[in-house]
Symmetry: C2
Subunit: 394 residues, 2 copies
């Protein structure tokens, strides 16, 4: 590593992508006194606004990636969108001592870039997930529906997140409309779940791992709106099972850094839904709510430092995302709403991402800590709603 | 204010000085989504290394201050060293809508710049402090000693901090040696105290105030080494008295932002020792240990936003400063020590300031939260000592 060659300089972590995940990782890097750089698409990106080590470039262009990597000791990611062949080139440079360690590596990241490969790997590992099948035409979808019943879920093999790239098709006609798009998809059974959960773990190159308490995520339209930690009403055995699966997956896939596993909880079992190998919306509550935030934990993991205590800093924590209001319904100016939100609830923790407000865009989150989940949840929702829309309830 | 003229842009807070206080304020500003700039002496200053809004300039040069101020909506301070006449010029520009609000203002900051004026103001307010007297020569010091006994403390009227500018003189000869320096001093009785305390409060321009739990500071050679929150063994009535004095002082002096009041606790009373009107070493524990960190609280106060909950996030908190080791005794390279410190104690929170290591220089701090003060204190001391010196105890 470059750090070891140069002696005194603390290591530099470079994060490809400069969204809010990089922005909050930047805050954690400041405490550790390490170097931190982001590769931003534009100077107006969330992290680019605040990070002293911002480089502007194109993460789909290998020369930009290689130039950025040369100034880093460890390379990590704010998103899953760096092309696999570029990851391979970066790893080759790192292996030849001409570049940083790439963490997580291509072999692991593949399973966040190709959802069909992820499903097949999970099945090979014997881990529970929804039934699925590759499909190329309506006949294939109909065959799945004959087995599983309608609706059938069609998912883009690559590129989907936050509800994008996921279509719940109730009829053959709806499936045909999705198949008409020039997007590779696969079919998945539609799961009737009681709750959606997330299990967040960290794993370092030498194999140390740490698991956060399992949380419940509350989604609307495929987008996370609230996170409740720990998941209310979740049986201890079920929580341990989710953590065990996440730890096993992190080890089996060779993840370095964070692994977030989104799960469906049904009355009798858990099914793995999605994976992410980076800080995750379901872990934002850890900034105040855990002894070690997910952002610090990701840095410690990719630097191969001993991991921090993932234990909760309060009995219960509620997080709510802040979304921009619809056009015409409220001013896009968030700051004047601080007066009301902070006066109404001096304990609410506000995190804004510096993003331009657009309708439905995730522009921040709020966190509330205490011991009364119903009350915490109401407080978080009220604050998030007012910040986003100027109204106390959506 | 510039913010109100421009509409959508969140306000920009400018901090004069770019030490670790500005660095940690920068982290808090990122969460709030406000603009934050620092006026640094050099690009290697602690905050300059991490703040995207760094301007390099000379805080003793009015043109540099005015140029920096033009890009800010609120101007605040990392230290007390901006000359009073420059503060007056900045306030004049702000009053004429040609510059930012200056918070705290000159009228308040004066009492952190001129310790004799501070003592006289405290006496006028009827607040308890050590006996003191202006002195210009040895006869004056000897007259004090005749009244109070030796040792007599001589203090620089301006410019002292962290034990600098304070001389404990046991004999007339020692006093004469201090008086030989071309530094204006005054005399103060030497206080035999049980403990040193600090009361930290915030006050906003419209008069809202919030008080943190009173802490004990453990000093060596006039330099703070540890902070224990809340102050162990402090009677509730005594703690309330310290908070009441700090709140009264903040109101009487018209402080906007934080006010840290350092106190001597004697068996029967409290005496006010020093004042600071900025984030303060005695409040670093609040980053993890209180619902609202002192850095966020300072920003909220100077922006005239409702103040945050100052309540503790754990029953007890111990903070220990990290100091650079003496030359020759240990490598100045801190980062490799992370391995041991983090493995030994996954719950310790590390804050490094990005400073070059020099013997005795304060280069970071660590914080530990829990409910067993003796254990927390041992953990914090062990981690801080190892980070600074490579040894577990100093």
């Amino acid at each position: 590593m470059i750090y070891e060659q140069q002696g005194l300089r603390p290591p530099v972590v470079g994060m490809v992508g400069a969204g809010q995940l990089a922005r909050m990782t930047c805050q954690a890097a400041i405490s550790l006194g390490i170097g931190f750089r982001v590769l931003a698409e534009t100077p107006a990106d969330s992290a680019a606004l605040v990070c002293a080590g911002t480089v502007t470039g194109d993460y789909t262009a290998l020369p930009d990636l290689l130039a950025f990597a040369r100034e880093c000791d460890v390379l990590t990611f704010d998103h899953e969108h760096v092309p696999g062949e570029h990851l391979a080139a970066l790893e080759k440079a790192g292996a030849g001592q001409n570049g940083p360690a790439v963490r997580p590596g291509r072999a692991a990241l593949r399973y966040t870039q190709d959802k069909l490969a992820m499903r097949e790997r999970l099945r090979a590992l014997g881990l529970p997930c929804p039934r699925h099948a590759p499909v190329t035409d309506l006949a294939g979808v109909s065959a799945c529906a004959a087995d599983w019943g309608w609706p059938v879920v069609l998912k883009a093999v690559t590129g989907g997140y936050d509800g994008r790239g996921v279509w719940v098709c109730g009829t053959p006609e709806e499936a045909a409309a999705v198949l008409a798009h020039p997007v590779a998809v696969f079919a998945e059974e539609h799961v009737a779940f009681d709750a959606e959960l997330a299990a967040l773990v960290a794993r370092s190159p030498h194999g140390q791992a740490a698991a956060y308490p399992v949380v419940q995520t509350v989604q609307r339209g495929g987008v996370c709106h609230e996170v409740l930690a720990p998941a209310p009403g979740l049986a201890a055995g079920r929580a341990r099972e989710a953590q065990r699966m996440a730890l096993e997956l992190a080890a089996e896939l060779g993840v370095t850094g964070l692994l977030a596993v989104e799960l469906f909880a049904r009355p009798g079992d858990l099914l793995i839904n999605e994976l992410a190998m980076r800080p995750h919306n379901s872990g934002h509550w850890t900034i105040e709510g855990a002894r070690t935030s997910q952002f610090e934990q990701h840095l410690r993991a990719v630097l191969d430092l001993p991991l921090g205590d993932p234990w909760m800093a309060a009995p219960q924590v509620a997080m709510a995302n802040v979304f921009g209001a619809g056009t015409g319904t409220a001013s896009p100016d968030i700051y004047p709403r601080f007066e009301h939100v902070m006066a109404a609830d001096p304990g609410v923790k506000v995190h804004l991402y510096g993003k331009q407000v657009r309708p439905g865009r995730k522009i921040g989150h709020v966190t509330v800590l205490g011991s009364d989940m119903a009350g915490l949840r109401a407080r978080a929702r009220r604050a998030a709603s007012y910040l986003g829309t100027g109204e106390e309830d959506q």
